[in-house]
């Protein structure tokens, strides 16, 4: 399993692996927002948590179809399916690799982008906390979507349609934590709920993803 994780990480970081693409996309989304809504500092400050969450969500979405597509093309997915590793574990490792190469870098650059949107210092901390608690759910849910659409020729658009509604609870609680943190309100309740959603997703969805993958590989 560790070998699989290392292999996936190496593939993602290698040129053309799409690492960095998500980060660049995140940056562009955040840079475009002031052009669209105007440069007024007060307004930007107010919408910054939401914009950063939407940006992180879309950047995450961008790299989802790569989770299984490459492995499917070169046949290694079929090998993984018949290997002694449980498919649930394989799926969980894939989700973890996706989070390490997409979610974690997004968390790391979020404070810088928060400064661009004049997010106050207190807000930056809560933004990072909320992203740390929420992005694992994004990766796990996204892995489920990728497993659903792995056999399809043009699965990308369908993948977004399937995954985005599933992101709603995470987005609501995550943005709520960041917003409450930036305005100095109580963050405990939304943070607990956000963590609960993440825990449910991480605990249950690998089984659904593995089941779906088996159906698709049959």
């Amino acid at each position: 399993m560790t070998a699989l994780l290392i292999r996936d990480l190496r593939l993602a970081v290698r040129a053309g692996g799409g690492f960095g693409l998500g980060l660049a996309f995140f940056l562009i989304v955040v840079v475009l927002v002031p052009f669209a809504v105007g440069p007024a500092m007060g307004l930007l400050e107010r919408i910054a948590p939401g914009v950063l969450w939407i940006g992180a969500l879309l950047a995450c979405l961008l790299s989802l179809d790569r989770i299984f597509a490459l492995d499917r093309e070169d046949g290694s997915l079929d090998l993984l399916a018949v290997s002694p590793l449980p498919l649930e574990g394989v799926v969980a490792v894939k989700a973890l690799a996706h989070w390490l190469t997409t979610g974690l870098p997004l968390v790391a650059v979020a404070p810088v982008l928060g400064l661009l949107l004049s997010l106050p210092g207190k807000g930056v901390i809560w933004l990072v906390v909320s992203l740390l608690a929420g992005t694992p759910a994004l990766s796990v849910i996204g892995t489920f979507g990728a497993a659903l659409t792995v056999g399809l020729k043009r699965g990308g658009l369908l993948l977004s349609l399937l995954v985005l509604p599933l992101y709603v609870p995470t987005l609501i609680f995550g943005a709520e934590v960041a917003r409450a943190g930036a305005t100095g309100l109580d963050t405990a309740t939304p943070l607990v709920l956000l963590a609960a959603v993440t825990c449910v997703a991480v605990a249950l969805l690998p089984f659904a993803s593995a089941a779906v993958l088996r159906m698709n590989l049959r």
Binding site: L148, V168, P169
Partner: protein, 243 residues
């Protein structure tokens, strides 16, 4: 009368549908016409809402069905995954567009009703938002069905999506509740008689609900039969090609 699962045989199911469909659709039309005419022409105006209360005869039944259609799909998906009855999977597929249209009707009549009552077509109220999310789930479900070529794989994948979607739909419902307090009134129909709408509105509303439910059943039966036939056609054509 044999076991209930007898009807899981596609051929037997088609025969039963052929026999009961005229009666069910007749009853549906009768109840809908009676309920809507009663509601539209022969109920008084509400003292606060004026004649807009008449929209309740469309809004409440369609909203009820929008949710219950998804529940029916969930049950049918579970039956398919556990017992592998094709009729069950096809019934879930047949119900999805009906449920989606019901959701649209509920949203549309709600928006038209909300305009004079709340002064806005749309508010990010928990109930309204939940329905919009439910509509997105329907869209994804229908899109996945039409995207997968193999019938059995499509049935498997959509069943799992339906189950996972149900969990997340419930999570979203609570998340949305947490996120914003609403304008929408509470449930109009409950066991507690005190909170219900008055009797003059209540009885025609029940007739309309019966009409919508019967219409839903008739449509699902009809569309399931269509799916069974379409499947059989594809199977025959495939055999022709290989022969």
């Amino acid at each position: 009368m044999g076991s209930f699962w007898e009807y899981a045989n596609p051929k037997r199911f088609t025969q039963v549908v052929d026999r009961v469909l005229p009666a069910v659709s007749g009853l549906a039309v009768a109840a809908l016409v009676a309920g809507l005419i009663w509601g539209f022409f022969f109920t008084p105006d509400d003292y606060r809402q004026g004649s807009t209360v008449k929209i309740i005869y469309l809004h409440v039944p369609s909203a009820l069905l929008a949710i219950n259609a998804w529940l029916m799909m969930l049950v049918a998906s579970l039956v398919w995954l556990v017992r592998r009855h094709h009729v069950s999977a096809l019934a879930a597929r047949a119900a999805a567009p009906v449920g989606a249209v019901m959701t649209v009707i509920a949203l549309l009549t709600g928006a038209i009703w909300g305009q004079p009552m709340w002064g806005t077509w749309w508010a990010w109220d928990p109930r309204l938002t939940s329905f919009l999310i439910l509509f997105l789930f329907y869209l994804g479900y229908i899109a996945l069905w039409s995207a997968v070529e193999n019938d059995d794989t499509a049935a498997d994948l959509t069943s799992v999506l339906c189950i996972v979607g149900s969990v997340f739909a419930i999570l979203s419902r609570y998340a949305v509740n947490f996120w914003n307090q609403g304008l929408h009134q509470g449930a109009s129909l409950s066991m507690d008689k005190e909170e219900n709408v008055a009797d003059v509105f209540y009885i025609p509303l029940l007739v309309c609900i019966a009409g919508f439910v019967l219409l839903f059943i008739a449509l699902v039966l009809l569309r399931t039969r269509t799916e069974i036939r379409a499947r059989r056609t594809r199977a025959l054509l495939a055999r022709e090609v290989t022969a």
